[in-house]
Subunit: 334 residues, 2 copies
């Protein structure tokens, strides 16, 4: 059965924004972020509220960069990592925009963008919609792992949840950014047989491989015709596994692989173990780093896959397998 | 700005299924459910795994009732109430179907169906897709409220999370059920100013009112032309508020209002306080009760709104307002 969906009309990235915290500001992409809050608190007094405020600021910045009023946004597709996605609800409190709430763990950014493309194609009246994704290191640590005060030692395969948000204003018409989504593929939940919550990269790599292999098998395209195949946050462990699989199955694809989780921090300066993770990672790296490369005419065509590890603290304690998932969008310059 | 989206092609409910636990079997709709497990455990040894298994059985039953193979399902849109939606991941472990994971609290069923309609309309090659939603009383109680063993006294406005799942096979072609989705509307997150997690009905009623009022204002249709306006799980408290608002704003609409949360249990036999809630409630009531009424030619046209309360245990403890949300689908007999 065909998995690639080509919507009737291409959808443009009209404008976008990225917001990060201290560590993200110190990293190699720090200078490309629109806003960095070195306190990580965004003027709030809890980590959970801070994430909501960071996401709100991010959406507002994307709107302002595109000179689009929130009143012109027909709907927003958004999600985060907090239990019951409360950061998303909080971030939208100032706006009055219909919401599609989603949960795809760290695959949320790509899932949001592909759903936006689908819904925009269904609506003749909608000019603009938005996609918004966030994660906050401190909110995630105390929710998924141990209280921060505990100072738990981390495993080498563990990843560092980024404090970051990415927002995208999408439209059928061209805006600030010379990049459009021309097709997409929904990810399959793939049982990794991994039960270790500190090895999410390993758990997600097989899902990423499934998506990339399915894409090239079905499209018949040549990996050489792409500038990059970008994954969300496989980190070092997951990237090694993915590249090893691709080498055999889609030769050439492994050479153009980039991972947002390995781009966000400088591992020589920050001990981020296997790399960055968190729903905000791929969203903020897409907005701050990859989309501007289209405008600078440095890249022309990429496959972009955010990658998610489907698990909860309870499922890890109960010894349940972690499923990986990796939805895909194809982004091209006009 | 227009909010009603009318997809190019109507989408049919091809087949559907409902599965419930003990209390659901004892209720007035018990005889209409496809499967009731009086143990609530579905052969598993934790509540969390039980919910995943219930959802898996439900999807399998919907497939079998429609004589559709899981290999013919292009994608599934699914969600539940467990942290990080793990019941959904678990339920799909036997299948090999691309997943759109969503979170809309108790509004998940309608959100899933409207996204399915949108994605099916984008794909020329997809014959079938599925929507799946579940909730489990015991998994929800210990996650959202207090450990069951604590025996906490419940407030009169509190609702009873149902142990139930609903699955829908959707298609561009007609199957077992003479009912199709002809338009939909994405819900707006509405700040209810309510901070009490035991008053979800109150928190959701304003969102339901916003959606119903917006629908009739924009469509210019007459409430009299509908058989019912069905809400997800406002319960007694929320239904009173909604009907009170509608009486003024859309006269006549209040008279045809039905609430799934008030249909699932018999309050003279079961002390369910304000009524049923949980993501499975509206899904299972739509499948077990309303869709068959179309086939029996007892109803011809309804508005169906699942209603969700966007909150988490942390957001309640931190005193954050609960946002309500109510996406809508219009269902018509051919």
């Amino acid at each position: 059965m065909k998995r690639i969906i080509t919507p009737k009309r291409d959808i443009y990235f009209y404008s976008s924004a990225s917001v990060g915290g201290f560590e993200e500001g110190e990293g190699p992409l720090g200078e490309y972020f629109d806003i960095i809050d070195k306190t990580d608190f965004f003027g709030q007094n809890t980590y959970e509220l801070a994430e909501g405020e960071m996401a709100r600021i991010c959406l507002n910045t994307a709107l302002s960069k595109g000179s689009v009023s929130h009143k012109d946004i027909s709907f927003i597709v958004a999600g985060d990592l907090q239990n019951q996605c409360v950061a998303t609800s909080l971030s939208l409190s100032d706006f009055n925009i219909p919401l599609i709430g989603i949960y795809g763990a760290c695959s949320t950014a790509t899932e949001a963008i592909l759903l936006s493309c689908s819904l925009l194609n269904n609506s003749d009246d909608s000019s603009f919609c938005a996609s918004l994704t966030s994660s906050h290191n401190s909110a995630a640590e105390r929710q998924f792992r141990t209280p921060l005060e505990y100072g738990c030692q981390r495993q080498p395969s563990a990843q560092w949840t980024s404090t970051s948000a990415g927002a995208f204003i999408l439209s059928k018409k061209k805006g600030n950014i010379n990049a459009k989504i021309t097709s997409f593929m929904i990810g399959k939940p793939i049982d990794s047989s991994i039960k270790d919550g500190a090895n999410m990269g390993g758990a997600m790599a097989f899902a990423a491989a499934d998506t990339v292999i399915s894409y090239f098998n079905e499209s018949g395209e040549d990996p050489d015709s792409f500038d990059h195949i970008v994954t969300g946050d496989l980190g070092e462990v997951g990237s090694l596994i993915l590249e090893d699989i691709l080498k055999d199955k889609v030769p050439g694809a492994e050479k153009i692989h980039k991972d947002c989780g390995l781009l966000l921090y400088d591992s020589s300066k920050k001990d981020c173990h296997s790399g960055a993770s968190g729903a905000g990672t791929s969203a903020s790296v897409l907005s701050s780093y990859f989309l501007p490369l289209f405008n600078k005419r440095k890249i022309k065509k990429i496959l972009f896959l955010s990658t998610g590890a489907l698990m909860s603290p309870s499922s890890i304690l109960q010894g349940t397998d972690i499923f990986g998932i990796a939805p895909l969008i194809k982004i091209e310059r006009e």
